[in-house]
Point group: C2
Chain length 236, copies 2
C-alpha cells in the first residue's frame, strides 16, 4: 500500500476531489477540493498523518467554490497549484505543459487541456489521469464561458487520447454516479468525442449544447480566482 | 487491464454498486445493484461486452430496491446470489461461509458477516472486500431490525479485521462522499469499532444509536425478498 488514491464526492455539485499520497513518505496532493467538504478532507489528511505538499486545481471552477485557501491556511506548508494560463493571483506555483511535481516516490505531470476554460490542466500520476472538466465519462466539458473553445477542447482530448488505453480516467464530475473510466472506453463509447468523431462534428455538437449557466457561476468564479480566500474571510 | 472494478453510486440512498470484470474473458459480477440505476448498469455491461455471471447481494436491503430480477431478466444467463441465511426464494445460489465463485481468472470468496441483518455476507476479490452494511467507513451498520445483533456484528467485524491491513474496504454506503478505505484505517480510526473497542462498549454504542427507520423499509424488504421481482412486474 504505497500509493493511495481516494476519490471523494461532493453531492451538491457532483464534484470529485482526489487525495493521493505516498504512504511510505506520507507526502500527499489533493486535486479539486471543495469548500463544502473541507472538514471531511482536513480530517482524513490529519487521520492519515499526511504531509500535504500540493493543493491542485484542474481549473477555475464555475459550479462550486474551492477550499484551496482554507486548506492552505490549515496545512501551511502546502502550495496552491494551477495551470499558468489562469488569471489568478493566489497560486504559489503556475504549471506549464509537461511540468512535474513530486510527492514521495511519485511524479505528477501536468498536461494543458484547454477548451472547457482556457486554463484547464489535466494531471497524470502513474496509470491515472485526472481530467477535470475536459474529458468526462461519456461526455466532455461545456465551452460557452471562461474562454471556452470547442476547437481547443477537441485538440486537448486528442492529446489525452494519446495515453495508453489502460490509463484510468478520473474526471472532476459525474452526474450519473460513475466514478472512473479508461482511455479505451472513452475512445470507444464517448458519444461526444469517441475515436470516430471528427473535429467539425465535435464543434457542432458542443456548440449545440443548450445548458443553463451553473447556479453559482457569479459567486464561484470570482471566489475561485482568489482560491476561495473570500470564503475563508467570511467564515473564519 | 485485466480486472476492472467500477464503483457506481446511487445518490438517493447513497448506495454503492460494484461491477467487477475480467477483461480477458469478459466474465463479470455485480454487487448490490439498485433499481433506480439499472439502465446505467445495463448500459455499461453491454458497452463493455461483458458476460454477467453473477448478480450478488450483500444482504436484503431495507433502504432501496434491488435490480437483481430486472438484471437477470436482461442477462438471462446470470445467477442471483445471496448468503444462505437469507429468507429469499428468488436466489439461484445461496452461499455459505468460505464458498467461492469464479469469473474469468478471478475468485470471489464469501465471508458471513451477520449483525446488521442475520443474512449479511461480505465478498472478497483479490485485495478488496465488499462489506455491505457490516463495516462502513468510520462506522458500521445498524442492528435494530431484520434479525440485527450488535453482538454478532462485533464478531463479524473482528473477522473482517483478520484480513491484511492493506485490503481495500468497499462498503455498500457512504453518506459523506467517501468511496473506499482500508482495513488498517478502519482498525485505527473507526470510532464505532476500532481495534481498541471491546465488545461490551461496541454493543452499548450500537444499541444507543437513535435512528429513524429507513423510509423505504416497508416496501424495500418485501421487494428484496423476491429480488426486486415485484418492481419488474409493476414496470414491465
Amino acid at each position: 500500500m504505497s500509493l493511495i488514491l481516494r476519490p471523494l464526492f461532493e453531492k451538491t455539485s457532483s464534484t470529485y476531489t482526489y487525495l493521493l499520497a505516498d504512504m511510505q513518505t506520507v507526502d500527499a496532493v489533493i486535486i479539486d477540493a471543495v469548500d463544502e467538504t473541507k472538514q471531511r478532507d482536513i480530517g482524513l489528511i490529519e487521520e492519515l498523518g499526511l504531509n500535504l505538499k500540493y493543493i491542485l486545481e484542474t481549473h477555475v471552477h464555475a459550479d462550486h467554490i474551492t477550499s484551496s485557501c482554507p486548506l492552505k491556511q490549515h496545512f501551511t506548508q502546502a502550495k496552491i497549484v494551477l495551470g499558468s494560463a489562469n488569471a489568478v493571483t493566489c497560486a504559489d506555483i503556475l504549471l506549464n505543459d509537461g511540468d512535474t511535481l513530486s510527492f514521495g516516490a511519485y511524479t505528477l505531470s501536468a498536461m494543458t487541456t484547454p477548451g472547457h476554460t482556457d486554463g484547464c490542466m489535466s494531471y497524470i500520476v502513474d496509470n491515472q489521469i485526472f481530467t477535470g472538466d475536459a474529458l468526462l465519462i461519456r461526455s466532455c466539458g461545456r465551452c460557452d464561458f471562461q474562454g471556452g473553445s470547442a476547437e481547443k477542447l477537441f485538440d486537448s482530448i486528442q492529446k489525452i487520447f494519446t495515453l495508453d488505453d489502460e490509463t484510468l480516467v478520473y474526471p472532476a464530475h459525474d452526474y450519473g454516479g460513475r466514478t472512473v473510466s479508461s482511455i479505451w472506453e472513452e475512445k470507444q463509447f464517448n458519444e461526444m468525442i469517441g475515436a470516430n468523431v471528427d473535429k467539425q462534428t465535435f464543434i457542432h455538437r458542443v456548440n449545440a449544447m443548450e445548458l443553463d449557466l451553473p447556479k453559482k457561476i457569479h459567486v464561484a468564479v470570482p471566489a475561485n480566482q482568489v482560491c476561495g480566500a473570500k470564503i475563508m474571510i467570511k467564515t473564519p
